[in-house]
Symmetry: D4
Subunit: 248 residues, 8 copies
């Protein structure tokens, strides 16, 4: 039911062409779509300046390009995750502002200026091999308007490296712990900081790591309270969730 037909109905009530009982019945059938789901939309897409996200994996470069094209016209900032360079190239053709973050395979387009929060999100990794996932989290958080501090390569095998940076970590409003292998970083951080810790298991490792399963299970079973987990290698998800919490 379009706005027009709703208006017509109401005018028909007013002019007695339709009885109130008939109108009630008619409105009861009001299809979901016609409501526009205003309240729902508000929080995700209608809020001015909120970035839109494309999960690029499994799409053709052409599909990515045309989705970006549609989004640009709305003036949104844009995040493309799991994008390869070919995808970036076709996006670049139609949008000069597009930037490719090679390490984490993200495309970002900043159509309007982002103001960062005062509080910050600390993104912490166990090793250097976890950095691509951490960067996905960090860049996601930044384009969503958050200040980010990166604390990389402070895994528990050399726990003094972690303690060296403890001030930066404990000063954050949200901590993202990115680790592969046995994922112990999340538990140690969960025990040391009093802020929410979002744990991101990575697929870094081999053998009985089973593509990140070892770290995932470890993080889910963390003996430290105040920790929740996102999917393996899901830096984007952690950055997004951290942003919501940081901006509460």
């Amino acid at each position: 039911m379009s706005e027009e037909s709703l208006r017509n109905l109401l005018e028909d009530i007013k002019s007695d062409k339709v009885s109130i009982d008939e109108a009630i019945e008619s409105l009861r059938q009001l299809p979901y779509k016609d409501l526009g789901f205003a309240k729902v939309d508000h929080h995700r897409e209608l809020r001015q300046g909120y970035p839109e996200v494309i999960y690029c994996a499994g799409k053709t470069p052409e599909q990515v390009q045309s989705i970006v094209e549609a989004m640009i016209s709305r003036g949104s900032n844009i995040i493309g995750t799991r994008a390869d360079e070919t995808m970036f190239n076709v996006v670049k053709e139609i949008c000069d502002k597009a930037i490719y973050h090679k390490s984490c395979k993200m495309i970002t387009i900043e159509n309007h200026k982002i103001t960062l929060t005062n509080s910050y999100i600390a993104v912490v990794t166990g090793g250097t091999s976890d950095i691509p996932v951490a960067e996905e989290a960090a860049i996601t958080a930044e384009i969503l308007g958050n200040k980010v501090e990166r604390v990389y390569d402070v895994g528990v095998a050399g726990i003094h490296r972690l303690f060296d940076k403890l001030d930066i970590i404990t000063g954050a409003k949200v901590v993202i712990a990115v680790a592969g292998m046995e994922g112990a970083l999340a538990s140690v951080l969960g025990g040391l900081v009093s802020k929410p810790v979002l744990a991101v298991p990575t697929s870094v490792g081999y053998g009985a790591n089973f593509g990140g399963l070892a770290a995932l299970l470890a993080m889910l079973n963390s003996c430290a309270s105040g920790t929740a987990v996102v999917n393996i290698d899901n830096g984007f998800g952690a950055g997004y969730m951290a942003s919501i919490i940081n901006q509460l």
Copy 2:
């Protein structure tokens, strides 16, 4: 190194019994324990009124009783999770204020009055069988000082039940989504609300549910952003994490 021995060392410096070089060497070796880990402790145990938590499973009633005894002397509020009635009975013997929450097998002891937050945490379940886990989350959150709204039995098989309660859910500062079977509730909520959603998979179900694995994997793979996951049946963990976020 106790405070006394540190004081002695410093006085020996002052009185020239120990050279500064010797003192530096001595302090460099300063064992971790002697530092008291003050900063770390602050956030968990020294903060006045913060409840202490006992994971009762795998402990004998006697162990539970003696841990509670020690805690009472510190005046803390106390949470005991996964406690059976025998454990409660021995605790009750030494502490009249102890309350047993049968549905979620928790013991709580409110040694000092809790003031609740204004913002609230919504605890939502898919079915009635998920309620014990939800209660663990809700009661944890309450004794940690949070206002809680319970929205139970609104699973996606009858999605209108969920929409009926959407106002309560979207009004929360944090949402806890508790669901077994296929765990779709978390994804649907993640798509409808703009606040952080903590997903708790439950072991409710049978067959290829594999003790909650189905819901766990579904929640980790949620297509909705703004969701993070705790361990299967870990209502406590979700309530604790939600409390941290709600009180940021």
Copy 3:
């Protein structure tokens, strides 16, 4: 928005107390709940005589009783699955018509007479140990108004037993294949009949059966087309789905 408030709004339009523009805005915000989700409800709960289903596992006998009580007042037929005898006894107290199907742990209450379809559903099992699951399917289908033919213990280890009954099976409009162990029955039936085959893996077996996983995977990988699978031991689900198809 209740029907009353909607009526009031429409009358306010009629009497010019509210402008059409205001009313459109107001209706656009119409909360989901107020729509009553009429269309949705039609197919499940409002259709006269359609049974209501309670998944009893994980509920207390008291909860089961009070749910049944509420349903009886609506005059529906009732199915309770995974119910133990204690649950049945408390239900029996408030409803004389309640019947307990011990083999498959179901409670059924036939509040109004069921007329059966002419076409029938064949429920086929590999062994006698699969019968409880098959009975759950068969009784579900019957109380949903379907004629059912039971063909039990015709597993592929003695394939002539299956061929002996092939006429009954091929005469059905829908076939439910219930089998544990290696679940080959579904594939063999899928190759022999031209009607939809709903495969129900059971947890019958031991060792590398892994609680029905072996049969489940086999059925999902069936080389015969025309087969779909429900959860392990989910006789109810198969009976329900078969009923929908049989009554299309």
Copy 4:
């Protein structure tokens, strides 16, 4: 035993060359093959115009070509699934009518005109990355003679997109729900429509998705009745099963 030898045997009975006891013994040994399995064959291969199916994966292009060659001579319509372009090219050489559906890697050959059903099958996907699997289902259903409506990219993360199309979906006689990630689409549809829902988990996703296992388990554990599941990425199987149901 060919028809000739059977005829000879019977004539020998008639002419007393063979005693009835000898004939009974002889017929008792009648090999299966000689029966021709008429009843069985009827429903799959002898029915005029029913397409024949080749599962191309793991075959050489030459094998595919020669199977197609044999089928063409029988005048059947043909479906080749999981076919790469090399396979298509060699098929094209011998059959001009062959069409390659690149997105879902299918070859179809329409040797005789297909008349579509009036009732239709709705093929619904959660995301755009699920489209190849959905196309396999849709094209399979079409060449089997069914009208198909495609409703793509209506996943639960933005549930209003799904409600926008609810009329098309609820109007179908059978619904195919294709979704990767957490596969919640199937449960939500199962709760909203009263027709059979065939759920197809896809391998779209990453990390703890485990190649579609997350969606598979979710769909098997769906809290909504009226749902059955096919193998991961098995669009063909869903299309075939839906066709059987749609044409009952």
Copy 5:
């Protein structure tokens, strides 16, 4: 079609009541069942003295009793596997010859005298905890008419124990290797003997044994040729297979 009706048909041919063409058509439709599946049956049930097998798990004592009753009337020897003592007691009531093998939970009934083979089957176990499964194999083989040599508790942790008995093992025509934990016995035996080795993984062990999965996988991956594997704890299956091979 019973023998009588077949005889009638043939006599009708002879007496010209039925034409040969009609008879051919009639015989072509001859249902599977009417053939009696003579060839198939021969090897399992019609061979005089061959035991009949009941898988008792999941059956009620009454069901077991009535199956045994039917079998006794045919004069067969009988094996009941996975039987508890209650089942045995009701069987004992109707059959005095019934024997209960407590360690492996088998019922055997020797209705007619068994003559043993000259060649023998060696049943070998890694530990004493594997003996129940080994006994299931040994007793199955014995009632099937095979001479059996038991070589128990010769696991690879003390490989000299195995070598002490090597003569008995290498003298067998078939070797059954029963082992839990890591199941290395099968590989070591496979490397030492030139006869077929049937490996039976047992669920003996704990932790990452996962109910026998460790031994199962080890045996499937044996680096020694000449080994095949049956299901976890499936002593019956190994004894049956060994019997077939021993009596070739």
Copy 6:
């Protein structure tokens, strides 16, 4: 201890150079190797004409070549499994008789004439995609001196194809059942034939097939007795085991 040194020791006893006590001690320490493991070796390597086997995967072409070179000098027949064409080419350089079986990636070298058994092994496959594994089994069996009958593409989805060939299958002394997907072929064959059935699950399939796991579990859980299983895709193992049984 070589034969020479043993002879010297015994002569020293005879000539009183060594006391009997010293000799006993010396012989007690007799290293395992010096025994020559004659009995053990007989069955594998010393038996004239028995082929030697190389598992080529994970070896360099050079390693394969030099192992072959050593074997040729002993005059054995040779089987190389999982060999790629590069390996074959370097083998071909040093041995003209080498043959490459492309479909199953085997190299065979027949250094001396093989006489085949009278009894035969039937190698049966469910589909055409299972043929490479079946060929590995068949060629292994042949070079080990067994007559082999191939019965391919007779899977249970069209069970009449299987019955058409039942005579060939039931005539075999050993049956090898090769099947992917749900592996039901093994159960059906196990129920139809009275000879040992060796089941080979293949990795043919997709989705919840999990690289052959579905077929493996199905075969391990076969409801038909007289079946044992080898590793996924292990045609060689099945051929080898079948050969041992066929030549008992």
Copy 7:
């Protein structure tokens, strides 16, 4: 071949009753058992005072009793693992010195005095629920003659507790790290101490812990070098291995 028969053979050589060639042949066939496997036995069973171990699970009390009886006659110290109280009671009947360690379900019998090592093994646990497994390790190590230091309940969620005890831990020659849940203790210890760390995952935890799998995988994937892992809950294995290392 007993020592006597060997002596006889050698004397027959000396007295020319047996030729050297005959003797060589005879000795070549010398069965393994007759050698007594002296070298092998030395290290396990013949070494005076070394305890003998019984894995009691799956044995009957009578079996345990008779094994103990046999061992006592040899004067060994004895360890019985996974023993229930019934087993202990029957052992106690025949051996007064038997002690039952209830927490870890072990029976020990100290038949002769044990002298402890100077160096010690540190047994460290994450939580109090891990103590039973730790006690199994500690008591095993003690009866094997090692000094043991217990450091319990120092898990990483409160890492200062661990640092408080670091001196005791770093002073050990071998460290046993016992932890359930996410098993991070092993990684943190591995990074802090320079001695071998034996990690024992425990089944303490719930949900996605999967009976200790989470801790097991975490420990296997430890980012800290110098760590090796034993089976879940295998305190005995860790104590035994630690003893070997401590006594090198």
Copy 8:
């Protein structure tokens, strides 16, 4: 807090600029990093000549090069694991002494002469395909200063090969058992030698090997005491752990 600021603080105490109470407070807050973690560091990085390790997988060649560059300046010996040839080439550019071990993909740099231990580590493999992992262990142990004996291709399928080398194996202080497939080698060695056995499962195998899982589980479940396990294919970890034990 650097040494300078600590010195200043102490001098301020001495000169009464700071009271002892203030100093205690100040030292109590002493951040972890300022202590330099001397004790911890000693054992890993400060010990002169101890090699430093780079896990190269997942790093760019440039990252590897710059890490090596930093390490060289400290004069350490260096191990780079999981390095490809490109990484080696860029390392070679800046360090002439770098050696590439192609079979196990390691880079080693011996900046100062290594003196080997007298006792040795035996590295034993089941097959030739396990050699790369074994070499990673052996080379790691060697550059850590240990004498190593390699005993390759002595798997249990031909157990006499193992016994031939038993003297070398039993003479070692530590044994590393490297095996894929079913990993039985570890159990057999564990039963034969009295020294610690470190088991390394390899991913050699196929089918139900699941990338080394079969060998891993087998080794964890070894029935032989005195065995501990490292991650699949983790030759480095085994070599490192063996070195620690060998040098105790």
